[in-house]
């Protein structure tokens, strides 16, 4: 409940300041436009479109999701948070906020891909939905803990992609594989190993984040 209250505060604040939403919207718009211009009238393969989808999602996450903690640091309200909530509440609240942002962002990106790219054809929607669900959860968890780490650093902009790349790489590779399977029309049961990897990644990242957050949050 306390974490939900923190999320509510963050969401209300976001609606007033548009701190992350504007950055994300602009990034998505610009990236997809650049891809469309560079492709022109060329026909690209289905697999390549699937790959591009996750590339756009990865870089959009880089540009918007760090804001959860960075905005508090920049406004000087980190200490205020220290004084009103336990570290686990803060991490949970920020995670809910990033989950919502990731799902919104990725729905928009996937929707734009489906209407703008003819080669973006998913034959097994259920498999894609499963990958999308667990993938988004993984991106949100990883981005939240990385955002907490980099918010204390002086060169936040550089550090975020540098730290994110090795942490998100196994997730993105699994998601690319699953998207390829969904495009081929493979069944959910035949993709069990990749789905299990995805779920394990989420569980490991969530556990590690809760264990580490106390140390990160302490000055």
């Amino acid at each position: 409940m306390k974490a939900y209250s923190l999320f509510k505060k963050d969401w209300q604040s976001e609606l007033r300041t548009r701190y992350a939403i504007n950055a994300l919207a602009m990034f998505i718009l610009v990236t997809i436009s650049v891809i469309m211009f560079s492709i022109g009238s060329e026909k690209i393969s289905e697999y390549l479109t699937g790959g591009l989808l996750w590339v756009v999602i990865f870089f959009s996450a880089m540009s918007g999701l760090s804001r959860a903690f960075v905005s508090e640091e920049e406004r000087g309200t980190t200490m205020t948070l220290h004084l009103i909530a336990a570290p686990s509440t803060i991490f949970s609240g920020k995670l809910i906020f990033n989950l919502l942002l990731v799902f919104l962002m990725n729905f928009v990106i996937t929707f734009l891909f489906s209407i703008l790219f003819n080669s973006f054809i998913i034959k097994n929607i259920t498999l894609f939905a499963v990958a999308f669900l667990f993938g988004n959860i993984g991106i949100a968890i990883s981005s939240t803990i990385i955002a907490a780490i980099i918010s204390k650093a002086s060169s936040k902009g550089t550090l975020y992609p540098v730290l994110s790349f090795p942490i998100l790489l196994p997730l993105i590779l699994t998601l690319l594989e699953l998207t390829k399977f969904a495009m081929d029309g493979n069944s959910v049961s035949s993709s069990f190993v990749e789905i299990a990897v995805l779920v394990c990644y989420d569980v490991i990242m969530l556990t590690a984040s809760y264990l580490l957050f106390d140390f990160i949050w302490e000055e």
Binding site: M1, K2, S5, L6, K8, K9, Q12, S13, R16, T17, R75, G76, T77, M79, T80, H82, L83, I84, A85, A86, P87, S88, T89, G93, E218, E219
Partner: protein, 212 residues
């Protein structure tokens, strides 16, 4: 009436290689006002941050007890009211929205009656629905007092409590501090003579330096 105590046991703090203070041993207890004084850079803010569990000491222990029971560090935030120049509230919210969010995040129900009482005492009641962005520095300082007192904490830590306040504001703050000290523990870190004059005992940080 609560019996809140804070025990500082051999507190040492280094910032990088610079020693800030060394070997502070002190006990604070309810119904008293304590002062922490020293020149600029002597570590007043650092010490109050250590007491409030915002930063850790390099060595030593801080033990908080409420009615003789040790307070767990994860629950400490709800026992502390904190005012400081480096504390910021959310500019994009009104004063009342800030207080409402803080209560909800603390997990306590928002006491509108107390909120209005404090807003009235500190002359912010007419501006409670204005965004904090439009407040003057003095008004923000008064709002910080409400933030610190709203949840009725047994420990109130005030770092430079009267900075940015005009004379009537200072008088009101002194009145509130004395009233709070009837039941609670108040610690003031300041250089202002008038702030320190309220304190029964004062820790002079200059005495806790050693040559390195």
């Amino acid at each position: 009436m609560t019996n809140y105590t804070v025990e500082l046991s051999n507190i040492v703090k280094y910032l990088g290689r610079r020693l800030i203070f060394d070997g502070i041993n002190f006990s604070f207890s309810s119904q008293h006002i304590y002062g922490i004084s020293g020149p600029n850079g002597s570590g007043k803010s650092t010490l109050v941050k250590i007491i409030a569990n915002l930063i850790s000491p390099t060595r030593g222990k801080v033990i908080h007890k409420n009615n003789l029971k040790k307070v767990e560090s994860v629950k400490l935030h709800n026992h502390i009211g904190f005012v400081s120049p480096y504390l910021f509230l959310y500019d994009e919210f009104t004063a009342e929205e800030n207080l409402l969010h803080f209560s909800n995040i603390r997990g306590i129900s928002f006491n509108k009656e107390r909120s209005d009482f404090l807003l009235n005492e500190l002359k912010l009641i007419d501006r409670k629905n204005d965004l904090v962005r439009g407040y003057s520095s003095g008004m923000k300082q008064r709002l910080k007092f409400i933030f610190a007192l709203l949840h009725q904490p047994p420990l109130i830590i005030l770092d430079e409590p009267t900075s940015n306040l005009d004379n009537p504001g200072k008088e009101k703050v002194y009145e509130l501090i004395k009233k709070e000290a009837e039941n609670n523990l108040v610690i003031i870190a300041s250089n202002e003579d008038s702030d320190i004059a309220l304190c029964g005992q004062v820790i002079e940080l200059e005495k806790f330096k050693r040559a390195i």
